[in-house]
């Protein structure tokens, strides 16, 4: 009888990301189908001519907290989460999530040095608060947003 040990439910986001990375690195065959399916590669200089398997290898490097490659970083910057990559993966990997987690890594959130700039809008929550004041009554804000 074979016994499969499934990982326990993670208690933290970092634990979850660790499990996801380990699973992705185990299952990905670097076939490049995800890259070839991407509708956004034309928006990054050099990417249309890049080798799909090399670009994916660079993304996997980022998941391992390695340096990655310029093409992998360019692909991550062009990603708009269209999800065509996930549908194309013959191994059933959530490639869109793989790209998102690689982005977290490239942002320096998983321990490796930061390689790309954050996109977070300055004053994001202040803007949300200001528009709430413009669009809602004090009663609605109190009941719906506290």
């Amino acid at each position: 009888m074979s016994v499969t040990n499934f990982p326990a439910k993670p208690a933290t986001l970092i634990e979850h990301l660790g499990q996801f990375i380990a699973d992705t690195l185990t299952r990905c065959t670097r076939c490049g189908a995800c890259f070839k399916a991407c509708p956004m590669t034309g928006y990054a200089p050099g990417l249309p001519a890049a080798d799909a398997q090399d670009v994916v290898a660079g993304v996997l490097g980022l998941l391992r907290q390695e340096a990655g490659t310029a093409d992998a970083l360019a692909w991550i910057e062009a990603c708009t989460q269209s999800g065509r990559c996930s549908a194309a993966c013959p191994e059933g990997i959530n490639a869109m999530k793989m790209m998102r987690v690689a982005r977290m890594s490239a942002l320096g959130s998983l321990g490796a040095p930061r390689k790309i700039a954050p996109r977070e809008e300055k004053g994001f929550f202040r803007r949300i608060g200001a528009f709430s004041q413009l669009q809602f009554s004090a009663d609605e804000i109190e009941k719906w947003q506290r």
Partner: protein, 279 residues
């Protein structure tokens, strides 16, 4: 899904109070009692990829608040929140609720909705679609819903933009102008007088086209509530197309500007409202 739910509308949609009120009216029309929840206090944390400690804290707080609501069901509006709940938040939290997108609920109960859609909405409308929200195939659901609107001629173009909504395209150079231009070309080809947006960021980023293009930009929930006889003015669109800073401030009024903070309004809100769509 139960008849009593948390309606989680998200953060950025607070620019569009009309969309939130229309969505609530539609859910109530199909027999769902809602506890609305949104804004910064219910943020999913999806914007915090560069600060995972903050992302985790926000997600955990939001899940705990939904658990405390005790409805056992959350209805989402925002595709980013839905995606983040589906792919991240529920993985390391203990959500005691199911969740579904509002289009799924309205579609499941569309017979009840149809009975309420008694006012004609005379428009030839083209659906502005994205193909990236693969968690829920919203486009065909919305087509079915809009087909219930009396008087509405709906055109579904071949074109669908990448990403799950327009804001996803904004950080990628040329991507949003390309999608905006393609949308305008599709409207012209369709001979439509209205572009129907699905998500709030598309409404936000496209509604400014009304200043220069011969069509209206309307969210699908506004068309559905109009068919119910409920007209909710799109104030954000009115501000966006006001034409001058003075007119914007006149429309909003000093009291609301003061509540938002005069200085922040001038430095951050007014420039957004004056920015034109690029194509």
């Amino acid at each position: 899904m139960s008849d009593k739910v948390t309606f989680w509308y998200g953060c950025n949609v607070v620019r569009h109070g009309d969309i939130i009120r229309a969505a609530i009216a539609l859910l109530e029309a199909v027999g769902v009692e809602v506890t609305p929840a949104g804004g910064a206090g219910y943020c999913c944390g999806t914007a915090k990829d560069a600060n995972l400690r903050a992302a985790e804290g926000m997600a955990r707080r939001t899940v705990e608040k939904f658990n405390q609501h005790g409805h056992g069901a959350v209805v989402t509006w925002c595709p980013s929140c839905h995606r983040h709940m589906n792919g991240f938040m529920r993985e390391y939290n203990d959500p005691q609720f199911s969740f579904a997108h509002i289009t799924q609920i309205l579609h499941q109960r569309r017979e009840r909705l149809a009975a309420r859609l008694t006012h004609r909405v005379e428009r030839r409308a083209m659906l502005h679609q994205h193909f990236g929200f693969h968690e829920v195939d919203v486009n065909p659901l919305i087509v079915d819903l809009l087909k219930l609107v009396p008087g509405l001629e709906l055109v579904v173009p071949d074109y669908a933009a990448p990403g799950h909504m327009c804001s996803a395209l904004a950080p990628v150079p040329r991507a949003l102008p390309d999608a905006t231009r393609a949308t305008c070309e599709a409207v012209r080809a369709a001979g439509a007088d209205t572009v129907v947006t699905v998500f709030h960021s598309c409404q936000r980023l496209l509604c400014g086209l009304e200043s220069t293009e011969p069509f209206h930009v309307v969210n699908y929930v506004s068309l559905l509530t109009a068919a119910m006889g409920i007209e909710l003015p799109d104030e954000y669109k009115a501000w966006k197309n006001a034409g001058s800073e003075e007119k914007v401030m006149e429309l909003i009024g000093a009291e609301r500007i003061a509540a938002a903070g005069d200085r922040f309004f001038r430095e951050a809100i007014l420039p957004e409202l004056m920015r034109r769509p690029q194509k």
